[in-house]
Symmetry: C2
Subunit: 174 residues, 2 copies
DNA sequence: CTACTCAGGTTCCCTTAGGGAACTTGAGTC
DNA sequence: GACTCAAGTTCCCTAAGGGAACCTGAGTAG
């Protein structure tokens, strides 16, 4: 199958997708961040095959998203913890969860609630502008080429059409 | 291979991942939302195989994320547009992009900038609490069982460990 | 001291999704 | 009549995922 490698592409979504774009990584990170950190716990909680879990964990460690730690000697017991890079995937999980809640929750409502400890409210996440705090949507934003858009000889350029269009477009509004 | 089906699982991340958890869906949605909407344009921009693109587009249409529209008769030409459900995936893309920018942008900086039309600033997205506007992180939130957590006989329960832990945990803070 | 369990994997075989190139179809156009 | 273009579809091949069995080191019940 040899999945097309996306890590070397000049697009941060592609780079993130190269790691995150599979059936299990999001769920593994959800579990690890929620405290399900042991190999067998993950196998049972997710229903993932042991082989695939071992491969994913190994990849996530290589990427610096997880670390393998011993939490007990004699008998030796290991578990997995999120690094800072791993914990910063949390907004991605929130965005996925929020979308799933909105479009797939049945009559009963969403399966889980997010509780914000600092303000002590059950809440929903909003993807907001760091400047003005307003919600960012496909309609009120546009993408422009950034400083890292000029790439060296080893880097494949993904999205020349986007790059050229972004400048031409009056804006993403219809 | 027969990927484990996740759509019927009582977890919104799993439901979203069933559709979104592959190498291409995020990039297809990025392109469609940015105005790259024609079949051949997508093939050339993404480097995706025509076969796989056709399958993904078909799935995205079945899910109500995209619609296929004619934009010219004689010769008949079709393109793909995001529905509301599709446009609401934008925060997921922003979260992925933001994470990729933070952890994979080289010296040169990120490959693209987000421009917020309403406040006319280049910006970064923040995943914020809808109540108080503060940033939500793995540290300052906890997940609690929601109303849709009770599931019928046809629904597989994913994450009983989480469900039981969420109640016990004093909070996600270390 | 032998048998059993448990955690954390690894090995094996099998199926199937993805890569990639070639082919198809319907319409325009040189 | 030959060529191009858009939008797929068909073909073959490889490798990734599923799943069950196996392995290994350490504790522990009888």
């Amino acid at each position: 199958m040899t999945r097309t490698p996306l890590a070397d592409v000049a697009c941060s979504i592609a780079r993130a997708t190269d790691l995150f774009g599979d059936a299990w990584t999001a769920l593994i990170m959800r579990d690890v961040l929620a405290g399900v950190t042991r190999f067998d716990e993950l196998v049972h909680d997710l229903g993932i095959s042991r082989k695939v879990l071992a491969a994913k964990l190994s990849r996530l460690i290589d990427e610096g998203v997880l670390v393998r730690e011993s939490y007990r000697e004699r008998p030796a017991r290991e578990h997995y913890r999120a690094t800072e890079k791993g914990r910063e995937l949390y907004p991605v999980l929130l965005a996925l969860m929020s979308w799933g809640d909105r479009w797939y929750a049945g009559e009963a409502g969403p399966p889980a609630r997010i509780h914000h400890l600092d303000c002590a409210h059950d809440t929903t996440p909003v993807t907001a502008c760091a400047h003005c705090g307003e919600a960012l949507t496909a309609d009120n934003t546009t993408q422009l080429p950034g400083p890292g858009g000029r790439v060296g000889p080893g880097t494949r350029v993904l999205g020349p059409l986007i790059a050229s269009r972004a400048v031409q477009l009056p804006g993403a509004r219809d």
